[in-house]
């Protein structure tokens, strides 16, 4: 994966050179365009609908929202987005380990190639059962084992269901890392290396950027995106439409392409929560890997050797060798 990333960067640089010839201001823009993540779109006068504190829909100018987003108070961040209850549905029948969710997430959160908020695991319940690809973000549990044990209230559960971490308060005791039964958390073991445009940003728990050495990070469900009415990065990055995201209060989830009622899809496709018997009440649901859209093996075709190496101890890979 690291290799891939590198070659991409090189060809981007190539393009900047070519961009000059292509003209039309693409040259001057090139650098900025590459950093498009934090730029504010110049669409003015566009109204967007928002839910107020007491749960009413109001219409405001979009630019006002974007401005506000950058100046959220600590309390607003800790309370969460009013009236929302976020939920994720992962359709295991569609995942073929393309790993775009991971790379996009890493890019947007300034993570190193070996740091993953989202993981894709090769799962096989036992030797005789079918293997499947298993994307695993943070489950943002309703009874979070990690939040319980935090001694300083640095990780907290918001009213909109999202569990966030305040990197500026975290003391780095790693209790939450040890306490999370889903291994969702990562620790910044060394100085955090970030692209300059991410490093210069003002820290916000909602973006998890810029992270700090000696503290804990994890998947944050991208609430900064939701505040702008945009889907989390992993959802939009997935070419297979595996990940649905939405608001339980609205009873709606979408993968950007298809929008469905949450209760319908969970009922019709027998949705379940992974290891729900631990009593953690996760906010991530899975749809069982039945009627697959791709053969399982296709998930091994496009991945790097490094990624393949990760799966080498699984029953499936062992049996394949024989």
């Amino acid at each position: 994966m690291a290799k891939n990333e590198k070659s991409k960067n090189i060809s981007r640089r190539n393009f900047l050179g070519t961009g000059f010839l292509l003209g039309a201001g693409a040259i001057t823009a090139g650098g900025v365009v590459l950093a498009a993540g934090n730029a504010i779109p110049e669409i003015s006068g566009k109204k967007i609908k928002l839910l107020t504190q007491d749960g009413k829909i109001i219409e405001v100018d979009e630019t006002a929202v974007l401005d506000a987003e950058q100046n959220l108070s600590e309390k607003e961040i800790r309370d969460g987005i009013p009236g929302r209850k976020f939920v994720m549905v992962v359709d295991l029948s569609k995942c073929k380990n393309v790993r775009k969710c991971i790379s996009k997430c890493q890019e947007k959160h300034g993570l190193q190639p070996d740091q993953e908020f989202m993981k894709v695991l090769l799962m096989q319940d036992d030797k005789n059962s079918a293997p499947y690809w298993f994307p695993k973000p943070c489950y943002h549990c309703d009874q979070p084992a990690c939040v319980k044990v935090c001694p300083v209230d640095a990780t907290y559960k918001r009213h909109d269901g999202i569990v966030l971490i305040d990197n500026e308060r975290c003391v780095g005791c790693k209790f939450c890392v040890a306490g999370c039964p889903y291994s969702a958390r990562i620790f910044h073991w060394k100085e955090v290396e970030l692209p300059i445009e991410l490093a210069n940003r003002k820290y916000s728990s909602e973006t998890s950027v810029p992270a700090k050495k000696g503290t804990v990070s994890k998947c944050d469900f991208c609430p900064d995106q939701s505040r702008q009415g945009k889907l989390p990065h992993c959802v939009t990055a997935c070419p297979m439409g595996v990940i649905y995201f939405g608001d339980m209060n609205e009873d709606t989830v979408t993968n950007g392409d298809e929008t469905i009622r949450f209760t319908d899809i969970i009922r019709d496709r027998a949705g379940y929560r992974y290891l729900a018997d631990l009593g953690t009440a996760p906010l991530v649901y899975y749809l069982p890997p039945v009627n697959r859209q791709f053969p399982f093996e296709s998930g091994l075709e496009s991945v790097t050797d490094e990624v393949k190496e990760r799966y080498k101890n699984t029953e499936y890979m062992k049996s394949k060798k024989e």
């Binding site: 319980k148 308060r169 209790f175 890392v177 291994s183």
Partner: protein, 439 residues
């Protein structure tokens, strides 16, 4: 009235320890200081580079530091329990044991929490633990309970030492610096061993001795709950509190035996610390070995018998003889059986054999702490799929090993220095028969 006059014989015997240090003594201290300095170098390196220099990674996020933490806290618990029980029961042979066990307790209780500091990623934000304290977190319980325990233990030790300071204050021939003389005077708080003063001291000691027992159990249970309150395989156990307390008492008593044997050998205390003391401690060790074996058995037997996916994975890991298997056998079977075999046969029961079995038990207790933490973190609920070996399997780094050794060196240094400052064996006078008081 000069208290010292009464104790001249005793004082003459102990004064050399306080007044001067032998060449061997200096070499020993220098050796310990060297190890401690390497520990300082290690922690400085770790703070500047981040915890990447440890063997810890995202899955095994707790390691040797936590192992040493629970080890030293366990020794501290055993020391505190021993000294307070001895104080309350007040057997005639208690004198050589009380102060050593109390010192052992305090030094362990001081060193233990330092490991937590080593384990914390942001030492600069340590104040947050008090500013934003969350009552629901076992770490907060730990901080509160350990601080209380430490205060109570120090006061308890001090109460026992007041008489000793008074004697040293009044002993004119003692050739120590003026500063130390003044320190003794200050620490003695005008104690003159009047019946009324004695009554106050005894009352205070009794109260604290009674408090130390439940507090020690609470502190160590709370430490056990750092693990027991999570959902991880092997940790999610209802008996973790009592199990930890028993295991710590077991390992801690063994540590006390080793400390006593060392003092006996290196300070030539053969006259005071006799086979009788070792014999009594050996009996205690034997009883605790049964308890420990019983709890270990019920813990792992029920996990193994009742299986469950995650427990099975952990048990397989612990029973794997190419991995943790030998250590598991050492910590759970040999540690339990060794004292039984050695101590159960009267002919084999000598100071040397008792010390030997104590060494087995102490090392086994440390290994036990290791086995409780690391294999569990290597057996996560979700499969660990990683191409990096050091993320899957934990190996201690040099930094962690250096700090571990520094902890043990500090423990030895503290005991050595304490023996240079006070008479570690209370003379027959400075602990007198307690006056009957009502609590």
């Amino acid at each position: 009235m000069k208290i010292a006059q009464k104790n001249l014989d005793n004082l003459k015997k102990f004064a050399p320890f306080l007044e001067s240090t032998t060449t061997m003594g200096w070499i020993w201290i220098a050796f310990l200081v060297l190890i401690i300095f390497s520990g300082f170098a290690a922690i400085t390196y770790q703070i500047s580079e981040g915890q990447i220099v440890t063997g810890m990674r995202d899955y095994v996020s707790w390691s040797l530091y936590k192992v040493n933490f629970i080890f030293f806290m366990g020794v501290g618990l055993a020391g505190a329990l021993t000294s307070s029980v001895l104080h309350l029961v007040n057997p005639s042979w208690k004198k050589p044991l009380v102060r050593i066990s109390e010192l052992m307790a305090i030094f362990s209780l001081i060193i233990g929490p330092v490991y937590i500091l080593c384990d914390v990623g942001r030492l600069d934000r340590l104040a947050n633990v008090f500013i934003y304290a969350r009552l629901a977190s076992p770490i907060t319980w730990d901080v509160i309970a350990i601080l209380m325990e430490l205060i109570v233990c120090i006061v308890f030790l001090y109460l026992g030492l007041i008489h000793n300071f008074a004697i040293l204050r009044d002993y004119d021939q003692l050739k120590v610096s003026k500063f130390r003389k003044r320190l003794y005077r200050f620490m003695a708080i005008n104690y003159e061993n009047t019946p009324e003063q004695k009554k106050h001291i005894t009352w205070s000691q009794n109260v604290l001795a009674v408090m130390v027992i439940p507090m020690g159990i609470i502190v160590y249970s709370v430490i056990a709950w750092l693990f027991g309150m999570t959902k991880q395989a092997g940790w999610d156990s209802t008996i973790f509190g009592p199990y930890f307390v028993i295991a710590a008492s077991f390992g801690g008593i063994a540590a006390l035996i080793i400390v006593l044997a060392s003092f006996r050998k290196f300070f030539r205390f053969e006259e005071y610390i006799t086979f009788k003391h070792f014999n009594i401690l050996a009996n205690t060790l034997l009883i605790l070995a049964f308890f420990y074996g019983y709890l270990s058995f019920s813990e792992y037997f029920s996990k193994w018998y009742g299986f469950g996916t995650f427990n099975t994975e952990l048990i397989n890991r612990l029973f794997d003889f190419s991995g943790y298997g030998p250590w598991f056998v050492y910590a759970n079977f040999i540690a339990m059986l060794a004292p039984m075999l050695i101590l159960a046969v009267p002919k084999w029961r000598t100071i040397t054999s008792i010390t030997l079995s104590a060494i087995i038990v102490v090392t086994a207790f440390w290994v036990k702490c290791y086995l409780i933490i690391i294999p569990t973190l290597e057996s996560q609920h979700l499969p660990i799929q990683d191409s990096r070996l050091e993320w899957i399997h934990y190996t201690p780094s040099l930094v962690e090993i250096a700090l571990t050794m520094a902890g043990f060196a500090t423990f030895c240094l503290f005991l050595t220095l304490a023996a240079k400052f006070v008479t570690v064996l209370p003379s027959s006078i400075d602990i007198e028969e307690p006056v009957d008081t009502k609590l």
